[in-house]
Symmetry: C2
Subunit: 480 residues, 2 copies
């Protein structure tokens, strides 16, 4: 029969041995992604792209629920537009790709491949906005952006990535602030309820904020290796761009005014977060809500009478509500298939063979706890339903536990250094909010201020790093 009865060799480096190599092994061996011939650019393979589609579906629905509409702005931005907002060009110019020729002709003005679209969108908004009656503008686009990165890793940092960018205009500062926080909260809902990744939300320090922003808000997640991942940001841009791009409207009082402005985005980086928050040494562990395959059915001795029929029956039943696959490949043994689907992180596996059918049962396996249980065929659908919900919840709980175990309070610079040298993780500490202090911490330890969280705790009165009076508690960590 030519069955591959040889042992399944996943060849995934254990994460304790080399976390970076574990990550690379997992993403390549599970067919999420591949390297492309252009350095720093990735190919997102169907299994990886399906995760992105599931994230998109949820977010796009929430954006529309909250009154946002999608549109599409050009890929290429004239250099003169990029330069209109001073901080913005300073932040992005060093990392953009430049188009200099169209066909055989050299262009009169260079065009950059969008690294983000504030500038081109503001240029259009300045044409469109006339009256306070037109506000708010609530628009979003799904696209790819290019940022020329020196050192890249698939999903986490690549020279091109897929994302969404929302860009809104409002009459008042307060409305813009409300929008900024509303979108951050939608991101948090997505992270926790869909990706099962707990996040800390709060404000970025001035050093870490978006180039051109009045204030940047972020959600920060913790990975298995104790490093933080910035998983989504929402910016209150106030009138920085609307002034620079001369966006005005006639207000209720007959005066011409500049509107207030926000932008917010999440990207395929989230997939990297899912891998590093839930994965284990067998490979991926996917939350059911985003798993391309929620349930896989593996028929045992499928040539024997009745097995394939029963497997197909189960398949049809589960297909009504879930993404399900039946693995009827003839040239692989059941054991080999079990290993492969475990590596690919499928939440629930159903095994059904002649003996199971005799006993009116099937074997259920769950990827998160590796538990296996015989379930009566009469209750199979309900059991699958319950397990999927339970796996989704359990993954969030596990990730929370992991994060809490790797979260530390420090009261001195020495403690911070010791944690970073020995174990890594989130560090909570009081902080003076001074740029010089932040620079020094980064220089000596590689640690950055992840955010000043909305949920504050009072840990003391002085900054443990420089001794000045403390203003707020902040989260510190090494980050992706």
């Amino acid at each position: 029969m030519g069955k591959k009865d040889k042992q399944f060799v996943s060849e995934i480096t254990p994460m304790e041995v080399d976390f970076a190599q574990w990550y690379t092994d997992v993403i390549l061996k599970t067919d999420l992604v591949d390297y492309s011939p252009v350095k720093g650019f990735m190919v997102i393979k169907p299994y990886g792209y399906a995760i992105w589609e599931n994230i998109q579906r949820f977010l796009d629905g929430r954006f529309k629920d909250t009154g946002h509409k999608n549109c599409y702005f050009p890929l290429l931005i004239p250099e003169s537009l990029l330069k209109k907002e001073a901080e913005h060009v300073e932040g992005f110019a060093p990392e953009v790709a430049w188009v200099t020729h169209g066909g055989k002709e050299e262009l009169a003005e260079r065009l950059c491949v969008r690294p983000t679209s504030e500038t081109i969108i503001c240029e259009m908004y300045s044409k469109w906005l006339k009256s306070y009656r037109d506000l708010p503008f609530l628009y979003n686009q799904w696209c790819s952006v290019v940022r020329w990165e020196k050192s890249t890793r698939p999903f986490l940092r690549t020279s091109e990535f897929l994302w969404q960018e929302g860009h809104t205009l409002h009459e008042t500062y307060d409305e813009a602030q409300e929008e900024t926080i509303q979108m951050l909260n939608i991101y948090k809902e997505m992270a926790e309820d869909v990706l099962a990744i707990p996040v800390v939300i709060g404000q970025k320090s001035d050093k870490e904020k978006f180039a051109g922003a009045h204030a940047t808000y972020t959600m920060e997640a913790l990975m298995h290796d104790g490093k933080a991942l910035q998983a989504g940001t929402s910016h209150n841009l106030a009138q920085h761009f609307t002034t620079a791009f001369d966006i005005t409207y006639l207000d209720r009082d007959g005066e011409l005014k500049n509107p207030y402005h926000t932008s917010w985005g999440v990207s395929t980086r989230l997939i990297g977060g899912v891998i590093m928050a839930h994965g284990d040494n067998r490979g991926l562990v996917l939350p059911p809500k985003i798993a391309p395959v929620e349930v896989v059915i593996v028929p045992i001795a499928s040539h024997k009478g009745g097995v394939m029929e029963k497997a197909m029956e189960i398949y049809s039943e589960i297909k009504k509500n879930h993404r399900v696959e039946i693995d009827d490949r003839e040239n692989y043994s059941p054991g080999w298939k079990f290993n492969e689907w475990e590596m690919k992180g499928v939440p629930v596996r159903i095994e059904i063979g002649p003996k199971d059918i005799e006993n009116n049962q099937a074997m259920l396996f769950r990827r998160d706890t590796l538990e296996k249980e015989a379930v009566s065929l009469d209750n199979l659908s309900e059991a699958v339903e319950t397990w999927l919900k339970d796996i989704q919840n359990n993954l969030l709980l596990k990730a929370k536990r992991m994060r809490d175990e790797k979260t530390y309070y420090v009261k001195s610079f020495e403690e911070l250094k010791d944690i970073m040298a020995t174990r890594q993780g989130f560090v909570k500490a009081m902080w003076c909010e001074e740029r010089s202090c932040e620079d020094k911490i980064k220089e000596e330890t590689g640690v950055t201020v992840r955010c000043i969280p909305f949920e504050q705790e009072k840990l003391g009165d002085t900054c443990p790093f420089c001794g000045k009076p403390a203003k707020k508690m902040a989260y510190f960590a090494k980050a992706y």
Copy 2:
């Protein structure tokens, strides 16, 4: 109250006066699209993008039904890859945008912004394909592409446009051919059942085929002005690229072979087709299946007791199954709103005022025939349902009638010239299939061979343009 009681001025140039200006007026005044600061690049505004989303939803579903999966390949392609297939580079090199700098550094090799992705995808496929067991490869991507065009018009021909491109590999020529035709048929289904645009399907002449294709199949639609629109193409690429890119697999017989290859795509150009196939001098006429708003409710004298309540009740009922909006803007008169929604092509309008409520009725208006009818509130949902179906069907019938009226048979070159000089349209004629004949027709009349249709008619034995023996009947037209 400040109501704009002044007459609604759509300022749309009548199509009989100047069709090109009519088109421009319609797309700008209905907020489908706008020009961007980069010449030849368009901004797709929310109302236009929503049409694209509805097209995408249908097509993406059909692609998945037929076993295709989505993925994402890099935006930028190295020059050396573009050059690997000789005909392909010759066809595309003159119209690509070149990236020469990343950040501050000049690149060692120029990268082109993808004009289409055969080359980069084949490069990846050559890494991925090992065995006949891996076949077929059935992948698609949704993205934007850039082709540096000298003369552009929004949706119809722009330097950047949104599209999908499917790229598949197969064991045999026959399977690849079957896939090519299957996808063309899905496009035809989309055009006729969703966009309500009748299409002729057939094969492109050698002159008109895709650069690098073995055979290109097309669907061609006829616009109000008698010009043809190539609305979608599907290519059997045979082994042209798989040989050039050294894509091989180990076949059942132990031999290394090159697989057979297809690609197929449709773009935002389809939106231009919808505008020009259904629109009239009032503006857009949208088929319900792709209309961003299928039904608009305009309350009359909405300040009077019970009107808004009843309008909201109707809104909630219709919202269960359709995209519906309620226009409760206070600063516009009902008449102004009627005109605006007619211009925007909304299929069904519901008017409800105090007198209607007294009579337990609402007024229904349909955009395609401009008919208005009083309908009992007891049957309103059913009536809306029936009207939407009827409008969808009627638009296809109308477009078919229009096309048939503008389709001519010719038996001499003079007849062709006369038709093109006086009225334009689809011309059916026998043809020798010679390149020299095709070149001469184009040179003298601007007419191209649109396709050699699958549905052949025998009109004679000689080519009416050059007198040589005829091989097939073809469709000729001036085209967008």
